[in-house]
Amino acid sequence: MAAVKVCEAEKVYIMHGVRDDLRLDGRGCEDYRHMEIETDVVSNTDGSAKISLGHTDVLVGIKAEIGKPRPMVPDEGYLEFFVDCSANATPEFEGRGGEELGVELSNTLYKVFNNRHSLDLRSLCICPGENCWVLYVDVLLLQCDGNLFDAISIAIKAALFNTRIPKVHISEDEEGGKEIELSDDPFDCMRLNVENVPCIVTLCKIGHRHVVDATLQEKACSVASLLIAVTHTGMVTCVRKMGGGSLDPESIFEMTEAGKRVGKSLHAPLMDLLQKEESLGKKRQKVGFLG
């Protein structure tokens, strides 16, 4: 992962700051950086969102395609994740440099999102055992400035909110032959219920305290971090420890509590924002990538 070199003196300075709940850019330990979200940015996807968190820039596009449901869960659709670490984000990703990170990210995303608690996978079913919608979630990292997971998870939630799946219905003839028919009205489409979709909160242990939304410098001072996926009710759906150092049980507990708190307070304004954006309809001025 993109890392910066930080000298001992800088580290001490950052750690002392964190201890006093004052970070380099003036934030408190549980504050996020400035965040900008725009949905419906890529017209040929079924749903898309772009987010910038500090200087971290992530684009998520969702494409719905008709596929076959998994044999174990014939009445559910599923999600597929692919994270593309573009060399735009950092020169380290050039060639196959970003591949390992990409796989790690997509595996984590799969764990967090592809379960019936976060998304009603049954609504993706078209015909049990025969056809279902497969949502291909493509994540493109445009710029890395720390806290990729949180940014990606928020972008995915926004993109899922934005997703419009064309309505289909199954026609059946006398012979029992099934035919998928597409509605010819482009406005006739299905929306996903994103209420339970979790957001990831990454907490970095710095000294004896922990911070959310760590910048690259702060990350360099941390030995271990904890990744918590939290729904809007504060339910934790996934926890993962990352980094080489160890965490004692007490701080894990503390960090989980902090994560729940932060996560819960993240959902409400996010949904607010998305709904407000949608209500603007066609009048909304698109910013896109040049804004």
């Binding site: 040929n44 494409k63 064309p166 035919e179 998928i180 028919e181 010819d184 009205d185 406005f187």
Partner: protein, 950 residues
């Protein structure tokens, strides 16, 4: 300004695809009116004085038709009277989507300057573009787009004329659309309403297509036909095998019967028989239909009765009688065929049909039945007020629809072609009926012609062999202006002979893919009618630049052989060249030069050399088993003033005919080999399949009746036995046999070498063959020229040339056009024969029996190359005793037995009682059979039996 259009599409594999197209809006799209000062249009299309008078809108106005009006009333829009029409892009796109022929016609109308049709690209205009709204169907959106554009025009013109008088009128037949438009403040009329209001143009009203509203009042409420299934049900049905898709072919002789040809690979049922009106279910010849196959116990045999739908009154009853007649005949036979019924129409293949009006018996009636010239097309009900003037005229009618409660389809009058029997009219009819493209070449096509004066340039000479010094000459029939081949022959220093065949280099002028090329590819062939030629390429090329006339320099594609005196090829060489023909001779002139020993110039020597080699080549070819077949060809002497035929003459064959033919064959074979060697996958070749043995039955039987044997196991055996089959004192017998043999043959066809494995040309006994020698009049030759040019590095290739599927499609078109050209040619000869006999009155002639049928004999008159049927059964007379023996075949009439090839005498006259289908009538005068033969008439024309006619 950029917008994007988004829509979702289902892919063939069942996936769902979201497609986004960029859409740009602009503000520099002009309104196209002369009045407007605001728009900076340099050449406005729409006139200020709109010169159309209507009772409904007395002010000057432009007309905006909606999509359905264009689709259904294109005949009206094409009328020269209708001018200053604005065609919106929305309308144009919808039309294009729904009907390619109508799209082409409206495009042609737009291109015509006098029509003042203007295309307004409203979809790209900033102020008239609209996006589809939630809950709005695609059609509703388009209707709204039309209204918005009409509104824009209204406002725009009002501003331009300071609230003046110029307005726009929207034409729509959609009631909802009309209401909305009225609310929107537009002047809007129904199409009929508007056309009827036009001052002083009653005939336009006839051309109005009937719309669904009118159908109800015309026909009774009784349902005659089962409902057609919707397309979606048909598609699923075809997918899972319940229904079968195929092309419907109506039976020419029986209107209650038809066949659906199914094109499925690996299935044994390729033809499905349909019987009875209910099962035909409103299918019209050439429609693509969905058929449901009956279980085996309901299969029937095709009936052999001739049933013509000559029910005179427009009643929907009394059909059951015919139906039952059909059934009783059918059940007798044991040969059952797969039978089914039409459940739906996948694609209508309606075109405007030529024919004549059958006047309604009720005076002053406006509804009439129209009888098409093509017997396979049902009669069409049309509405017209000018029936009196249309009687006896050839007219064109288009079908609008066929409601399920109507016995006949509904249509409307399109145009009057002229008086029936008139030469111009009949020629037009036969061209239209045989689908021969015969319009003058469009401006786009002509623009690709070389600029005159044209001359051979230095560059041409650099890349071409200069053969101008050679003594080249051409030999053609008299009056030929499209000379595409020329020959030369000279002795080489080593004692061998050099023979050259020089073909006009048409591919030099027609470059792949341009409008000229596309037009030629579509026409496929030049069509020769009696006294008229319909060119494949514009005259400048066919009769001038490509024609290898004498004493001018011309570009050629040469095939040059080195041969020894035994006509064995030592070397073959192909090159593009420049030649200068020394003489354009007719066959007779060339023959005279060869025969006249006193002439000894270069040309004559060259001709003699060619003639000598040709004889050897022909002998070799015949030795290999090439067939010499015969068909009675006739040529008319046409009066130079009236263009009426004044005399008939069978074509004379001279040595020089076969001399030219021999070298053309040789060139074709050499080229075929060369292009196949070079491009094994995409060479365009010509094959002539061997006929199935059963085809020869009639020939063998006929010969047997004269105690001769014909062997048909191979072409060689056939050729030999034909040569040996002669009868003393009956010189014409051999020709008759050969005529019969010709009838047994299959059709030769073009094909792409990558798509077929059987290349054999049966008639010429050549393992490979193509057409190279007539590029002026055949498109296949142009393609062969291009292939050969690529093979010898004289020209560059292009993708379509190497695409075997594209080439295969091209072959299909050329084959179709050739077949149709042949039919048209025959029809033209038949028509001229009729004209000839019309002028002659009644003629007595000697003829031979060509076929013997159950109730008739078919007689060939060698003098006129004319075939006619003598029937022994008559409706209004008691039939003579007939006994038919299939083995002979012989037919015994009373006491006399008719055998094939018997010599008979007949009188020939023209039966003009049916104007639509005039025909030559033959009556037997010798042998004399009481009650059957007629006395030899003196000068009085035979009293024609009055026959009830439509």
């Amino acid at each position: 300004m950029l917008k994007s259009k988004t829509f979702v599409k289902k892919t063939r594999s069942g996936g769902v695809l979201k497609i986004v197209r960029e859409h740009y809006l602009r503000d520099d799209i002009w309104c196209g009116s002369e009045v407007c000062k605001e728009c900076k249009d340099e050449a406005p299309v729409l006139q200020e004085e709109t010169c159309i008078e209507s009772n409904l809108c007395p002010y000057p106005h432009y007309v905006i038709p909606d999509t359905n009006v264009v689709l259904h009333q294109i005949d009206i829009l094409e009328d020269p009277l209708i001018r200053n029409v604005i065609i919106l892009q929305t309308v144009l796109q919808e039309v294009r989507h729904r009907s390619a022929p109508v799209y082409k016609r409206i495009k042609d109308a737009i291109h015509e300057k006098e029509k003042h049709f203007y295309t307004f690209t409203n979809e790209h205009h900033r102020e008239t573009f609209i996006e589809r709204e939630q809950g709005e169907s695609a059609n509703d959106r388009n209707d709204r787009a039309i209204r918005v554009a009409a509104k824009w025009y209204t406002d725009h013109l009002a501003k331009a004329t300071d609230g003046g008088t110029l307005k726009v009128v929207l034409l729509t037949n959609d009631r909802a659309n009309k209401e909305k438009a009225e609310q929107f403040g537009l002047t809007v009329y129904r199409c009929e309403e508007y056309i009827k209001s036009l001052v002083g143009n009653p005939e336009l009203v006839d051309r109005l297509a009937m719309t669904s509203d009118d159908q109800n009042e015309i026909t009774g409420s009784k349902l005659l036909f089962p409902e057609h299934l919707p397309l979606s049900r048909i598609q699923t049905g075809i997918k899972n095998g319940v229904f079968i898709q195929g092309t419907f072919h109506a039976n020419r002789d029986n209107y209650l019967e038809g066949t659906v040809f199914v094109n499925r690979e690996g299935e044994d049922i390729n033809e499905i028989l349909l019987q009875g009106l209910q099962n035909l279910n409103r299918a019209v010849n050439q429609d693509v239909v969905a058929v449901e196959l009956f279980p085996k116990d309901r299969w029937v045999a095709p009936s052999s009765v001739v049933l013509q739908d000559d029910n005179l009154n427009d009643e929907d009853t009394e059909e059951d009688e015919n139906d039952s007649k059909l059934k009783s005949v059918a059940s007798e036979s044991s040969v059952l065929k797969p039978t089914g019924r039409v459940v739906g129409i996948i694609k209508r293949n309606w075109r405007p049909f030529c024919g004549m009006l059958a006047q309604s018996q009720i005076k002053e009636a406006t509804r009439h039945l129209f009888t098409p010239a093509d017997r396979r097309i049902p009669r069409i009900r049309i509405e017209t007020r000018q029936a009196a003037t249309l009687i006896g005229q050839r007219i064109m009618v288009a079908i609008d629809g066929w409601p399920k409660n109507s016995r006949y389809p509904n249509g409307h009058f399109v145009k009057n072609l002229g008086t029936a029997g008139d030469k111009e009219t009949e020629t037009e009819v036969l061209l239209l009926e045989h689908d021969v493209p015969h319009q003058p070449f469009s401006q786009a096509v002509l623009s690709f012609l070389p600029k005159m004066p044209w001359g051979i340039t230095e560059e041409d000479l650099k890349v071409r062999a200069d053969l101008r010094h050679l003594c080249v000459c051409s030999v053609d029939p008299p009056g030929c202006t499209d000379i595409d081949d020329a020959l030369h022959c000279r002795e080489l220093e080593n004692g061998n002979l050099e023979v050259g065949v020089h073909i006009a280099d048409v591919s030099h002028f027609i470059r792949p893919g341009n409008a000229l090329d596309q037009e030629a590819a579509n026409r496929g062939t030049t069509v020769y009618l009696c006294g008229k030629r319909i060119d494949m390429v514009p005259e400048l090329l066919s009769s001038n630049l490509c024609s290898l006339r004498s004493n001018v320099e011309r570009l050629a594609f040469s095939c040059i052989w080195e041969m020894n005196h035994k006509a064995e090829i030592i070397k073959t060489h192909f090159t593009k060249s420049v030649i200068n023909s020394k003489a354009s001779l007719t066959y007779a002139e060339a023959q005279m030069r060869i025969d006249d020993t006193t002439i000894n110039d270069d040309i004559t020597k060259s001709l003699r050399g060619l003639n000598k080699l040709a004889k050897i080549l022909k002998a070799q070819r015949i030795d290999k088993g090439a067939l010499t077949l015969s068909s009675p060809e006739v040529r008319f002497h046409i009066d130079s003033e009236t263009h009426d035929p004044i005399d008939l003459q069978t074509k004379e064959l001279m040595e020089t005919n076969s001399m030219v033919e021999e070298f053309m064959l040789l060139a074709n074979i050499s080229v075929a080999q060369k292009i196949y060697d070079e491009f094994s996958e995409c060479a365009l070749l010509r094959k002539h399949p061997a006929p199935p043995p059963s085809n020869y039955d009639i020939l063998i039987k006929a010969a047997k009746s004269r105690d001769l044997e014909i062997h048909t196991d191979s072409a060689k055996a056939l050729a030999d036995s034909l040569n040996n089959a002669t009868i003393e004192n009956f010189a014409y017998f051999n020709t008759l046999l050969r005529i019969l043999a010709t009838r047994c043959m299959m059709q030769a066809v073009y094909f792409c070498s990558g798509m077929d494995s059987d290349f054999h040309h049966y008639g010429l006994a050549s393992p490979i063959y193509t057409h190279f020698t007539s590029p002026i009049r055949r498109y296949a030759d142009i393609i062969v020229h291009r292939l050969l040019a690529v093979a010898i590095n004289a020209d560059s290739t292009y993708p379509d040339l190497m695409d075997k599927h594209k080439q295969s499609a091209l072959c299909n078109n050329i084959n179709y056009r050739h077949k149709m050209a042949q039919y048209a040619q025959r029809a033209s000869v038949a028509f001229h024969t009729q004209l000839f006999f019309k002028n002659k009155g009644i003629i007595n002639e000697e003829g031979f029996i060509l076929f013997v049928r159950k109730n008739a004999i078919i007689i060939l008159i060698p003098k006129f190359g004319l075939e006619g049927t003598v029937f022994f059964e008559n409706k209004d007379k008691p039939s003579p005793r007939l006994s038919f023996d299939t083995e002979g075949p012989t037919l015994k009439v009373e006491e006399h037995t008719f055998r094939i090839f018997d010599r008979v005498k007949v009188t020939i006259s023209l039966d003009a009682s049916n104007l639509q289908h005039q025909r030559i009538r033959m009556a037997l005068t010798e042998p004399v059979i009481p009650g059957v033969s007629v006395p030899i008439p003196e000068s009085e024309p035979e009293a024609k039996k009055p026959k009830l006619d439509r």
